[in-house]
């Protein structure tokens, strides 16, 4: 499936490239002892600049999802699932991704998922599949 790729910056490269080592890297503030996403140069709670990427388990659950049926462009494989995943490390620690490798009708809110990666050029895109 074709995808628009994100720009890599000093703030975002860890998230998009951690998959090269099989890791989901989420920014963490050592002062607050809290993760946050998307990554940024300072903690959104305390403005500490001692923030940086930290590997998480890659396990989480689906907070919400949608099955897209619209052929927005000819290169899309429809249907596909867009979801918000909450990671196990912290309540409210969410990111948006696709749920892959399962029939769309299997997807539901509360479903346990785990990260997997799909490589596009220098990006290891974090995706999620159903935990078995």
């Amino acid at each position: 499936m074709s995808r628009k790729l994100p720009a890599l910056t000093a703030d975002t490269c860890h998230f998009w490239q951690g998959g090269a080592e099989g890791q989901l890297l989420i920014h963490f503030c050592p002062d607050c002892q809290r993760y946050f996403h998307p990554p940024s140069p300072v903690c959104p709670s305390c403005c500490s600049n001692r923030v940086g990427p930290k590997a998480v388990s890659g396990h989480g659950q689906i907070v919400s999802y949608t099955i897209n049926y619209q052929q927005w462009n000819p290169t899309l494989d429809i249907p596909y699932v867009v979801a918000i995943v909450e990671l196990d490390e912290q309540p409210g620690l969410r990111l948006l991704s696709n749920i892959v490798n399962c029939p769309t009708e299997q997807v539901s809110i509360g479903l346990q998922v785990r990260v997997c990666f799909e490589r596009y050029e220098d990006i290891w895109l974090p995706l999620f599949e159903v935990q078995t």
């Binding site: 499936m1 995808r3 628009k4 790729l5 994100p6 720009a7 890599l8 975002t12 996403h37 998307p38 959104p44 907070v63 919400s64 999802y65 949608t66 099955i67 897209n68 049926y69 619209q70 927005w72 462009n73 899309l76 596909y80 867009v82 979801a83 918000i84 969410r94 990111l95 948006l96 991704s97 696709n98 809110i109 990006i123 895109l125």
Partner: protein, 398 residues
């Protein structure tokens, strides 16, 4: 809060105007804009030389895209205006940001009469390129935008994919059903049938709605607003001189423009959006309350947004919008709270923001023709979805 320091109460809407609403229109974007602007100035009983400020959301962003082909600078030049202040730009609390900025310019003493407008020509654009509005086309090459970069790699190609996440969560938390979402579309269509300018006026049944194709579950074709070419304008005036204008002034009783959550679609309250922030600010700036509201024009870029605005504004309880709209009697023109009385964006056309203010004023002034609801003095216009949210509490002075 010191009421004398609530600046918007010193500002009133004195005139409204709107171009033809085409799908598409043969007129140029600037012609549409001039038509709306001159009608609004005339409606206020003013001359173009009285206008000393111009505001717009989002402005032409220096590229004239169909999303907003005309900005304030271009209109000032075209109409030969002499202004003390002008401003546009995308960043702000959603599509009503132009009204809010214009009101602030008056409250700050920069201007006496501010022309606020919004022009859109997405219907023309889509004649030649159906993918023109895809989010992945917002940036050239790799996605560098602050928040779209987190969504476009996952083929979020339209805001509907994000709105659908809210709708699915709303359904999960509160049991909201498709028939309840569909009622927003049906109510808009019924109102549009009475509005000669509306894009879609033929009857829409629940069967039609439920059999329309799924775009992004649970949202269907008829949960989406319809592209059009149109321009809408209003005149904001200093309240102390507004009484000399032609219409009874409509005071900006309270503005809601707060954002107390991240600038993000997925890091915010999924069933409250930024609407809860704007609404709570608005009600903190007035002695009026939800029970005083006679009509509400609530953003319906997608039907779920209208449901969330109903709850955020306290027009029904949190999680109760499905039950509130079910069957449509409460929100109909002759119901307790008529909504989107011109057909909204779902059937009237995606005038994008200012259309709601235009319609709220038409209702308050009793000028809505066949779609006029009961006489009332208090109305709400609210606009935006996700992290974009702004609301206005409007009161007609007797």
């Amino acid at each position: 809060m010191n009421i004398e320091r609530i600046g918007e109460k010193q500002v009133a809407i004195t005139g409204i105007g709107q171009s033809e609403v085409g799908r598409p229109s043969a007129l140029s974007a600037m012609q549409l804009t001039v038509d709306a602007a001159l009608e609004a100035i005339e409606d206020a009983g003013l001359k173009k030389s009285d206008i000393d400020g111009v505001a717009c959301w989002p402005g032409d962003n220096n590229n004239g895209s169909a999303f907003s082909p005309v900005g304030p600078n271009a209109l000032i030049s075209t109409l030969g205006l002499n202004v003390n202040w002008f401003g546009g730009g995308y960043e702000g609390p959603g599509p009503l940001a132009g009204v809010i900025n214009g009101a602030m310019a008056i409250a700050a003493g920069l201007c006496d009469h501010v022309l606020v407008f919004r022009t859109i020509t997405e219907a023309t654009q889509r004649q030649t390129d159906k993918t023109a509005t895809a989010l992945s086309n917002k940036t050239v090459g790799r996605d560098t935008s602050f928040f779209w970069q987190w969504y476009t790699p996952y083929n979020v190609q339209s805001a509907i994919n994000l709105a659908a996440l809210y709708a699915q969560r709303h359904s999960y938390e509160y049991g909201t059903r498709s028939e309840q979402l569909g009622q927003i579309a049906l109510t808009c269509r019924a109102n549009a049938a009475l509005n000669p300018k509306a894009v879609f006026r033929e009857p829409l049944s629940m069967e039609d709605y439920l059999s329309s194709r799924l775009i992004s579950t649970p949202l269907r074709l008829f949960d989406c607003d319809v592209h059009c070419d149109a321009s809408t304008a209003i005149v904001l005036s200093r309240k102390d001189i507004a009484k000399d204008c032609r219409n009874p002034p409509i005071t900006l009783e309270a503005i809601g423009s707060a954002l107390n959550q991240p600038w993000s679609w997925e890091q915010i309250d999924l069933t409250g959006m930024a609407a809860i922030d704007a609404a709570s600010m608005m009600w903190a700036r007035t002695d009026l309350g939800p029970a005083d509201v006679g009509s509400a024009q609530l953003y319906d870029g997608f039907s779920i947004f209208t449901m969330i605005w109903l709850e955020a504004l306290g027009l029904c309880g949190r999680g109760e919008s499905g039950e509130f709209v079910e069957g449509g009697s409460r929100i109909a023109l002759n119901g307790q709270l008529p909504i989107n009385t011109n057909g909204g964006q779902l059937s009237g056309g995606r005038t994008h923001g200012l259309g709601y203010v235009h319609e709220a004023c038409a209702q308050l002034w009793g000028r809505a023709g066949a779609r006029q609801s009961h006489a009332h003095d208090v109305a709400i216009a609210a606009s935006g979805g996700g992290p974009l949210a702004g609301s206005l509490l409007l009161v007609k002075n007797r």
